[in-house]
């Protein structure tokens, strides 16, 4: 593996780690483990934990993938890996 490829892979892994942390926190965190605590907060008719479980986490998932697409396209350009 060339030095360049190694550096690219390392940055890629850092992005993955960051994004998957958020993935875990909104779904397993806010929607399941801390659901009951968050339910104390109400926004409109929604209890917050319930909202994360049945709405919020899904919206965050979509945003995460598009953020990933942007980050990776930028990374590909930086390393000259875009075709």
């Amino acid at each position: 593996m060339t030095k360049k490829a190694k550096a690219y892979w390392k940055e890629n892994l850092r992005y993955l780690f960051m994004l998957l942390m958020i993935w875990f926190v909104v779904s397993f965190g806010a929607g399941i483990l801390f659901k009951n605590i968050l339910d104390e907060i109400k926004i409109g008719g929604f209890k917050l934990g319930f909202w994360f479980a049945q709405q919020g986490s899904m919206y965050v998932f979509v945003i995460l993938i598009f953020v990933y697409v942007r980050l990776m396209n930028k990374l590909d350009r930086k390393y000259g890996y875009d075709s």
Partner: protein
């Protein structure tokens, strides 16, 4: 006035014939326009599908009869617990987009067992991959054909078997003729039909109940009846009055909700018919982008489903609970004849007592009714009721076609071309692919007509099987260069065997006289959630065994380095 009379004059039945007929004609003409000329066309649509078209096709492929018909109903009875499906079946796309899709596209082959076979330099690994793919896909496809039959029987009043056969013929036609190419473009059309059919009633009902046209906001709004009460508070109250748990609190344990959500997420990312869709785009960056588009299109339906669940549940309780049986609306009687609503007047007072206590409850309502009968319960016009039938068929057919393609390519490509007869010509392989598709449709149709009792129970478990087998093997294959064939094969075999054992013991109960009680579940985890445990065991076994056996050959390690770099992903090839 005249217009509305004409519309009423047509009736639900004829509207259904018209809408189903028009959509079927559309699918067939698309199939004729996009015939497959080569194995590359047949397996991966020539790797020339645009990210948008692939995103739409993936979404239609993904959303099955279960998503369209059953999910909102399941949520409306499960309340908060229904979130396992919502998060599980969408969160998996994050894993797919970040951990699998780009690298598998770069790898550039035709099937998932292809990757397993090449990465683990072994026909045994490939063969294990084929077996897992067939097991997962067949459990899944039988449920789809059944769904097609059910929709036909309820809306067009043909019997279920005739419905299954009509569905088989349609799928046969475009899957065999067009392969992945035909399937992809029909799925694009099917996505449009199904999302329109799901959203229109949801928007109408949201306006009726809350005055808000956006269902996602509507179910968190105040009721439109002027009481100023929030809909969810109202439903929590209604549920408690009848002895159920509050709607916004579930009744499953936290660990089980956690395990099921994880198993569904990982299973989603490991399903061959979903993964293979990302082999059809041109470049690595297109694979990433189309995963995002697919999830966005899926979330449109998935974020609406919990709203539909709340509307339908509130509507149903208010319409039938404590009402006199003599005065129930027409839809109640109609669905009673299908056996999906059962009323048993235990205390002979002529009043429908719908309560949590099983000994006093007099009303059984099937999950599926919540979507199928919802437009009638809310008194929407006939054409909307018919639209739901066309949408449900689009959902079932698109998923069935995607699964059949995985089955046929596993057989023609991975078994025949790669293992049994490598010398087969391109034309011979294409014929083999078409014949396997025909056989697969017939087998699926057979299971649709004669469903073994365990199909319903096992469809949900297909995710556990995928999580326990493919996901670790693929992720380790990409992210752990040292992973070798011994580890991967052992991991897959142990993972899927453990999952099958748990499923047979605790869901089907074949090892005991009766299905064992919940208390006997390991760590309190249900069979649906056990895929997470089996996946963990697979990861563990794979890594430990590979530590004690020799490293993979240099050229395989170089291949792993190569798939990590997006540059130079050509069209999918055979060589």
């Amino acid at each position: 006035m005249i217009h509305s009379l004409m519309v009423e004059g047509i009736g639900i039945q004829n509207w259904t014939y018209i809408l189903v007929g028009v959509t079927f004609a559309l699918y067939i003409s698309i199939a004729i326009c996009s015939r497959a000329g080569s194995t590359e066309d047949f397996y991966v649509a020539g790797s020339g599908v645009s990210p948008l078209a692939n995103g739409m096709a993936t979404a239609a492929d993904w959303m099955s009869a279960a998503s369209f018909i059953s999910m909102a109903g399941i949520i409306s009875f499960a309340g908060y617990d229904g979130a396992v499906y919502l998060m599980g079946w969408t969160g998996g796309y994050v894993l797919l987009a970040l951990l699998l899709a780009p690298y598998l596209r770069k790898f550039g082959k035709f099937t998932v067992p292809d990757f397993i076979g090449e990465r683990y330099y072994s026909d045994i690994a490939r063969f294990v991959g084929v077996l897992c793919a067939l097991l997962v896909s067949f459990t899944y496809v039988a449920g789809q054909m059944r769904g097609v039959g059910l929709v036909f029987s309820r809306f067009l009043e043909v019997d279920i078997d005739t419905g299954v056969i009509i569905g088989m013929l349609i799928v046969l036609f475009y899957a065999v003729l067009g392969g992945m190419k035909g399937i992809t473009y029909t799925q694009v059309a099917q996505y449009c039909v199904l999302i329109f059919a799901f959203m229109v009633p949801a928007i109408f009902i949201s306006i009726q109940m809350t005055g808000n046209p956006v269902p996602q906001l509507g179910f968190g709004s105040q009721m439109a009846d002027g009481s100023g009460m929030y809909l969810l508070d109202k439903l929590d109250g209604l549920s408690e009055d009848l002895g159920f748990a509050q709607y916004t609190n579930g009744s499953k344990s936290i660990i089980d909700v956690f395990a099921i959500t994880l198993a569904l997420m990982v299973g989603t990312a490991g399903l061959p018919h979903v993964i293979v869709r990302f082999f059809t785009v041109r470049r690595v960056r297109d694979a990433r982008k189309s995963a995002g588009i697919a999830l966005l299109l899926i979330v449109i339906l998935y974020s609406t489903a919990p709203a539909v669940a709340v509307f339908a549940r509130t509507n149903m309780i208010e319409t039938v609970s404590k009402q006199s049986y003599a005065s129930v609306p027409e839809w109640f009687k109609k669905w009673e004849t299908t056996g999906l609503i059962v009323f048993n007047d235990k205390n002979n007072d002529g009043i429908i007592n719908y309560v949590a206590d099983a000994s006093k409850n007099e009303l059984q309502v099937d999950n599926d009714i919540m979507v199928l009968a919802n437009p009638e319960i809310a008194r929407l016009p006939d054409w909307i009721v018919a639209l739901v039938a066309a949408g449900a068929l689009a959902a079932a057919l698109s998923t069935a076609a995607g699964l059949l393609l995985v089955i046929s390519s596993s057989i023609s490509h991975d078994l025949i071309k790669k293992i049994i007869n490598p010398k087969i010509s391109e034309n011979g392989e294409l014929i083999a692919a078409r014949i396997s598709a025909i056989v697969a449709v017939c087998v699926a149709g057979y299971f649709g007509i004669n469903p073994p009792g365990f199909v319903a129970a096992t469809v949900a478990l297909a995710f556990g099987l995928a999580a326990a087998s493919f996901f670790p093997a693929i992720v380790l294959g990409i992210f752990y260069k040292r992973m070798n064939k011994e580890g991967a094969i052992a991991g897959m075999v142990v993972g899927i065997t453990l999952m099958m054992f748990y499923m047979i013991k605790y869901r089907l109960g074949w090892f005991d006289e009766v299905v064992p009680d919940k208390d006997e579940w390991w760590f309190g985890i249900s069979p649906e959630g056990f895929g997470s445990v089996a996946m963990g065991v697979n990861f563990f076994v794979s890594v430990v065994i590979s530590k004690f056996t020799s490293a993979p050959p240099t050229e395989v390690q170089e291949m792993v380095e190569n798939i990590r770099i997006p540059l130079g992903s050509g069209p999918a090839t055979d060589h």
